[in-house]
Symmetry: C2
Subunit: 304 residues, 2 copies
């Protein structure tokens, strides 16, 4: 295919940054790939893996780039944006891959010069693994990428959004556009709360007095193991998510606890019909997720 961008610069070579580099190369979505990571060991690894042109400073990496992707934890976005601001060429697109959008817009916007276009984004894809070695070209295939464009009336801005949209489609994603605040509310339920309760149950299981950790591990195939996967995700990334999407997370968390208290009461009072009705209802959602192509129908995900 014809490359959407002549040169893409990726700041942060973790699972997501590395996957974008791999995908851009594999699907020919960018003719040239520049990379920078603040961690020297990660840069060395990216070089060893042949991911593109790896630079030792962010400014050199973004010079000449048509699009700069900030693929760092949400809490590191502002600093990353600041470090590249002076080197952005006229018409350059600045985007990101943060799991929170409102806070990123607020902290990054001030650093992006008028001659560049800030278009925040978030790929709804990932694995529990981290670092450059975890990246792979097909991570975004069939997954959604959410763009949260700013209210910017310039026709050049609209054209930049279309171009970024085309890039994500070129590497296999479906693209949706929405307002940043809306993104944060939707992701609080689909992503942030699930991770929080997975972290909570896994950490809690380590602390029990009457059941040993090795017993939990041994019998984990009865349900618990599912939670260990997302609880293995990068702790820095997730700390930043919760610090930066506090309001929406606290709201769904309150709702979750309220509903859980009702379930607890139904168990205490032996309300079998209420339990059955709720469990039966939950089943339907599984079918919808599979029908939407967002999960496999294989029992146990085919892992056994």
């Amino acid at each position: 295919m014809t490359a959407v961008f002549e040169r893409i610069a990726i700041i942060g070579v973790g699972l997501i940054g590395a996957s974008i580099a791999r995908a851009a190369a594999e699907f020919g979505a960018a003719a040239n790939i520049s990379l920078f990571d603040a961690n020297g060991e990660v840069r060395a690894r990216a070089r060893a893996l042949g991911m593109g042109d790896v630079f030792d400073d962010a400014v050199s990496a973004v010079a000449d780039a048509d699009v700069v992707v900030l693929a760092v934890p949400v809490g590191a976005m502002a600093k990353a944006a600041e470090s590249i601001a002076s080197a952005l060429k006229p018409g350059a697109i600045v985007t990101d891959t943060g799991s929170v959008k409102g806070a990123v817009v607020d902290s990054v916007r001030a650093h992006v010069p008028q001659h560049a276009f800030l278009i925040p984004g978030h790929p709804i894809a990932g694995t529990e693994h981290s670092g450059p070695d975890a990246g792979f070209a097909t991570l975004f295939q069939g997954r959604w990428h959410i763009l949260t464009p700013l209210p910017d009336a310039r026709p050049e801005y609209a054209a930049a959004v279309d171009k970024l949209d085309a890039f994500w489609r070129a590497i296999g994603a479906n693209v949706e556009r929405m307002e940043a605040g809306r993104h944060d509310v939707v992701l609080a339920i689909t992503s942030h709360l699930p991770h929080l309760i997975a972290f909570n149950i896994v950490a809690m299981a380590e602390d029990l007095e009457n059941v040993t950790e090795s017993e939990v591990v041994k019998y984990s195939a009865s349900g618990f193991r599912d939670f260990t996967r997302i609880a293995a995700s990068d702790p820095t990334m997730w700390r930043d998510v919760f610090l930066n999407n506090r309001e929406a997370v606290l709201e769904v968390l309150g709702r979750f606890s309220e509903d859980l208290a009702a379930l607890q009461r139904a168990i205490r009072w032996g309300e079998g019909d209420a339990l059955y009705a709720l469990f039966d209802r939950a089943r339907r959602m599984r079918r919808e997720v599979i029908d939407a192509g967002q999960d496999t129908a294989e029992p146990n995900w085919g892992r056994d």
Copy 2:
């Protein structure tokens, strides 16, 4: 191999009963397989699938059986035991596959005659699918099977436990023995609580006013989809688990809610270090589960 049992009778042909039938045949662990299910359609399906000798009444199914496996929901165990009691031959083993052991022992024991041996059990294996078609021969490979023998001093009882142990090993399981009450406390954390919170978050996501169900489904690959799998498990089975392991479930649920409240407070007050420390700790458990052979190390379970 030489069959461990000359004839096994399986009462209840759902995922577990059907998998035992398949496994017993595949690995030659029983020379003959008798089956009964209270549901006529299930019996017809078991016949069509060629699972063994399917009987139209429980009494005929267990006559001549060396071991009878009650593979019905926990709440149906007492009735199933009562229905077969009169037909058990001297020395027959009665076992079950219920996810709760204390309540099953209490409700089943009175129905098992002195000339038979009640040895409760629980295979730590399953999928989110239900019914006879969901059964497969390798379900128990590398998984644990827990036996909770009664305090019975007869040497014949000990020999029966060893024989049942050999059967489960023959179909691929590792076997562990523990006291019924201990089983119920351990499974409350490894299985019952994870299912409860999965049911809770999935049902809750249907009820939100500010996020639509289709948005949840669409962006579910960001974490939520993991929970839909176990929330798709059989609602009757799970209702019975919670009604029959109430005390242990309420205890771990109380602990879960307490820890979640602490996490909620850490988010509200922006305590990044506390969040990081907890998330980092949760990560270690994943490695232990994989090292114990209870899950695959493939990113996203290899499903994408």
